[in-house]
Amino acid sequence: MSNSITAPRPAGQPILSGTGLVKRFGRVTALNGSDFELYPGEVLAVIGDNGAGKSSLIKCLSGAMVPDEGHVELDSQRVHFKGPQDARAAGIETVYQSLAVAPALDIATNVFLGRERRRSGPLGTVFRMLDKPGMRRDAKKALDELGIGTLQDITQAVETLSGGQRQAVSVARAAAFGSKVIILDEPTAALGVKESGQVLQMIRDIRSKGMPVILISHNMPHVFEVADRIHIQRLGRRVAVVDPKAITMSDAVAIMTGAKVAE
């Protein structure tokens, strides 16, 4: 098998990497010595069949799961995430498939949910008053930066938004707070064609600001549209990292399912 489909290793050091990651659940081995590298400024797609260990891999990187063996490095420093909060504090933001928005609350409140800002002075320290004008202004800015001009009113409830707009709010939240890495778990799974296109455009916008993105997706056309490199996970390990410009979708799926072997 030729090497040409394998993606060239980007220059520089990985921003986020995992080495020899192992995760077992009783007698089931979800991760069997899996490696992972994300380089600065790239969109790395992670694909794999059900049970290939995609979500276990991502959970180890986002702090939702602690690996049994192996280690994770952020900026070439070893990190030991005990929970998603640790990863978030280190600059890794994850947009979960379930979106993690509170539908009845407005957009600005959702963008700042769990990280509310208080007013300065005694209003904030004594009366714990939220800085609503400031949060609304910055939430609007975060949405504008991702080109979501259709959201006119930052005070409207998230439940009045379409699926794509809700996804946009989640992604905007991640983009606003993530300082190193953004992880998107199946961001287009529940969306229509037009809305998917908007989300893919947001991914490109995030990349153009220099922020690396990990995209977990089942949707091959979407993966091939935005990914710089594709990490293929199979049977608990990384079997290949391919270049979407040098491989066909059917070959990528063949590697994913084991019908074809890379290298």
Binding site: Y96, A104, L113, R115, F127, L130, T160, S162
Partner: protein
């Protein structure tokens, strides 16, 4: 309710209108309006109920003394409905709010009359008791994982039994609750909430109590907290979608425990208002209605039993609606049996309306 529907068809659509461009017509407009301003419907119910009962009672209901009595009768219910609102916003329910308040007010009355502690200390002991009852709810719900309904159904009986045992079902009267050093016009701190304030002449004027004012101030304070603090946002988010709130980094168990403890502290507040209202302490306080009446007030006020949405202004109006219904039906000469029927129907209409309004989101 039907009046609210026919009054507001031409209201301007909220700016979310573009997301609803597939929806049109008067009904959808009203639905959107009620969704955006949920206090409109309880306010309309209160207005209509007041006008209807004013008519059937030959104007007796809207005389100044009667209006004062309505506010006084609403005070305890409204005080306890604050905690109930918070709990319902987290998608829970507190069936023990009435017996919790009764137990707390018996403790306050007994330690004051029998131990001879100062009134302030008796109230602080009541606060500790209330907080403990609330913390017990929070523990059962977050650590044992019991549903709030079951938790508070169990403690409903437990608090009731403790109250009866502790008081031996005896009533503690005004003579034992007043301050020994009380001067004329002031019966001491425990009964201060019952002190009357009259506007106008004694017989024809408008009379409220200190308790009414304190309850109103409490509503203002809690409205601020819910709308302007991070804790308030977290309470909404927890009730809206527990898992989403957790993923957003909110410690949902801590939020839930804090909500039940705040509700417990409000048992003590309600106990104080109750002491002033009845000028006595008895295991019969609240007439056994207060438990369910708080839920009625919350539901009529537009707070969703499914969690995540609700306002204190609505609950306050809902509590007034309950009082206006009870007194209005009495003054209109309707039998007490049918009063209960009317309240029941009102709940069903309120929840149906809530379901309809929620469809905006779908």
């Amino acid at each position: 309710m039907s009046d609210a529907v026919s009054d507001a068809p031409d209201a301007p659509a909220p700016s979310a209108a573009d997301s609803f461009s597939h929806r049109s017509g008067t009904f959808a407009g009203v639905q959107r309006l009620l969704h955006r301003y949920p206090t409109i419907s309880p306010a309309a119910v209160l207005l209509v109920a007041t006008m209807v009962f004013a008519f059937f009672s030959d104007g007796k209901l809207i005389k100044a003394p009667t209006l004062g009595i309505i506010l006084q009768q609403t005070a305890v219910l409204a005080a306890l409905a604050i905690g109930q609102t918070l709990i319902v916003i987290t998608a829970g329910v507190d069936l023990a709010v009435g017996t919790g308040m009764v137990l707390t007010h018996l403790v306050v009355a007994k330690v004051f009359s029998e131990w001879g502690v100062p009134a302030v200390v008796a109230l602080l002991i009541g606060l500790v008791v209330g907080l403990s009852l609330g913390a017990f709810h929070g523990f059962l719900i977050t650590k044992i994982g019991l549903p709030p309904f079951i938790t508070t159904l169990g403690t409903f009986y437990i608090f009731q039994s403790l109250g009866l045992t502790y008081s031996q079902a005896r009533t503690i009267g005004k003579a034992d609750l007043g301050d020994k050093a009380a001067t004329k016009g002031y019966d001491g701190l425990l009964l201060w909430t019952g002190k009357e304030i009259t506007f106008g002449a004694r017989r024809t004027g408008f009379t409220i109590t200190v308790g009414v004012i304190l309850v109103f101030l409490m509503y203002l304070a809690f409205t601020y907290v819910l709308n302007n603090t991070a804790w308030g946002s977290h309470v909404y988010a927890t009730g809206d979608d527990l898992e989403a709130a957790r993923l957003a980094g909110i410690n949902v168990n801590r939020v839930l425990v804090s909500v039940y403890m705040v509700a417990g502290a409000l048992y003590a507040f309600g106990a104080w208002i109750q002491l002033g209202r009845s000028l006595s302490a008895s295991s019969n306080a609240g007439d056994g209605q207060i438990n369910l009446d708080t839920i009625t007030a919350v539901v009529i006020g537009g707070t969703s039993l499914f969690g995540g949405r609700g306002r204190f202004s609505g609950t306050l109006i809902g509590a007034l609606v309950v009082s206006v219904f009870r007194l209005g039906l009495t003054l209109s000469g309707v039998s007490a049996y049918w009063q209960t029927f009317a309240i029941g129907s009102l709940i069903l209409i309120a929840v149906s309306l809530d379901q309809w309004i929620r469809k905006v989101a779908k």
